[in-house]
Amino acid sequence: MTDSPVTAIDAQGLVKNYLSYDRRGFLKKEKRIVKALKGVSFSVRWGEVFGLLGPNGAGKTTTVKIITTLLLPDDGKALVNGYDVVKEPIDVRRSIGVVLNVERGFFWKLTGRENLRYFGMLKGLKGRDLEERIDKVVSLVGLDKIGAVDKLYEEYSLGMKARLALARALLSDPPILVLDEPTLGLDPPAAREIRRLLIKLAKDEGKGVMITTHNMFEAEIVCDRVGIISAGKIVALGTVSELKKLVAEEIPIQVKFSGIVKERLTVLEDYLKKSVGVQKLRITEVDNGFELRILTPIGNEEKVIANAVLALTNKGLSILRAEVMEPTLEDVFIKVTS
């Protein structure tokens, strides 16, 4: 290892192929190679929150598993706290706290505290040190306030489970945290608390924090830098403001409407692409209706918004709101992954 690693995590050219079998009849199987990662490179600096974003199946979890030594790469190199994930896995494991799935990963018939004792011992903690660390992390994640730590894990809500998962990751006070969707399924207040904690851990304690998320809003407010992964490749990398410049020549338009069933959305999307004359658009379901987001070149927005409203009205849909927006990380995401 290097004496003082410059970066918390340094991944260079990670490649991973999986062998998959497609069933062809009762006994016959056909081999298929799935290229999960095609040369992924990124780094996580000390004192920053780095977000790895990407659609489902893009390679986020594969990357996390390689970084955490749970999977060997076929090619490329990753250093965590200066240690090689392939050659020095034990040192890597001592350097990281990990959350892989907030919904499970604990013993149901043990209390939160008993679970933390078990996993703490597996990290080499014992005696008074262990008890002090448990008290500290339980207080950090707020499990003590809600009186959950001495309840059986089977009685935990999803929010409690997420807090306990984060408490386990922090138990050995590792310099690096690798968190796979740490706020998935949490209610807004709980998610906000976790986000605040992540920022605090990076800024106040200088930890290197890497998170994966689908939540663009979360990435925008938590992450110092973001990497967007698509089909096994990093397609955009930089600070949120740097990435927004990628869509600077394009401006997002948002139209909220109602009056259609969800099943007809794909047809409507195709219709709008033709009638409005733009390709970069997406419809998502929101409260009390749907939201159409269009990316259009600057200077063209008035014409596009008028065409979109007209096209939707022609289809008998009710327009609730239409506006030209500031670009968001989601716009960048749509642009680079489409």
Partner: protein, 271 residues
């Protein structure tokens, strides 16, 4: 940076097992009844080919009551070891805890052996404590002494059985249809070890296979101890020698197998 050793894993797993029994008191209580249910199973299976007297005669038992008690303890312990060591990966994969356990700073090969031991030992001790009153009832204080001799054999038999279980655990980690392995291995080991029927009534091929099954030698010891009030020390030592030999063979093979399994799993990814 140092990692943790096998003792730390053993301690952690022992704590988890104790917490688990503490929070599942009824299950802990029922553990004391299972050996008696196993006695009923042994009597039932043994009597299928005739009366209980015929079974006693076929097994060459002078103290059938004590044999049934000790055979039940041996069967329960064997199941406990295979479940504890080989089932460890399977159970934790289902729970979603396997990834986090593997993230401990220790080689997976050492981790799986050390983590499977506490449950196996607890199972053996609970079983012996559970059947002790019955042994005393059947044979008086001599019964309890005999049971302690059998406990010593059970512990000696654990060493090769752990190697065998690690081999099964290696297979469990590599293949996808995990539960089939445990579901097959336990009844097979009990069948060829002579717990249900004497090995001599088994087909020739199974008699040969039984020579490689550690539980067979523990069952032989139980038969000797239950038949003679002072069993031959030389004969018992021979059985212990066989267990030691199997222990060396299985644990050497298991050491290589688990490392290969570790690599195979890490190429595929831990689920």
């Amino acid at each position: 940076m140092p990692g943790i050793n096998m003792w730390a894993v053993f301690r952690a797993q022992l704590h988890a097992s104790i917490y688990w029994y503490k929070n599942n008191k009824w299950l802990a209580v029922t553990m004391f009844f299972w050996p008696y249910l196993m006695i009923l199973v042994l009597v039932g299976l043994g009597s299928i080919m005739g009366s209980f007297e015929l079974y006693t005669e076929r097994m060459n038992l002078s103290s059938p009551g004590f044999y049934l008690i000790s055979a039940s303890a041996i069967a329960m312990t064997s199941v406990g070891i295979i479940d504890g060591v080989a089932g460890f990966a399977l159970y934790n994969r289902w729970l979603g805890t396997l990834n986090y356990i593997i993230l401990s700073p220790i080689r997976e090969s050492k981790l799986f052996i050390a983590a499977g031991l506490p449950d196996s030992l607890l199972s053996a001790l609970v079983t012996i404590v559970a059947v002790m009153p019955a042994a005393i009832y059947v044979e008086g204080l001599l019964g309890s002494l005999k049971l302690l001799i059998i406990l010593a054999f059970m512990l000696a038999g654990m060493i090769p059985l752990i190697g065998l279980s690690v081999l099964a655990a290696s297979a469990l980690l590599v293949v996808k249809e995990e539960s089939n392995i445990i579901n097959s291995i336990v009844p097979f080991i009990l069948l060829v070890s002579g717990v249900f029927y004497p090995v001599t009534v088994l087909p020739r091929i199974l008699q040969v296979v039984s020579l490689a099954v550690p539980t067979r030698y523990v069952v032989d010891a139980a038969k000797m101890v239950s038949t003679f009030s002072t069993p031959s020390g030389a004969a018992l030592m021979l059985l212990l020698g066989m267990l030691a030999l199997l222990g060396i063979i299985y644990n050497t093979i298991a050491g290589v197998a688990i490392m290969r399994a570790e690599k195979a799993v890490k190429m595929r990814g831990v689920d």
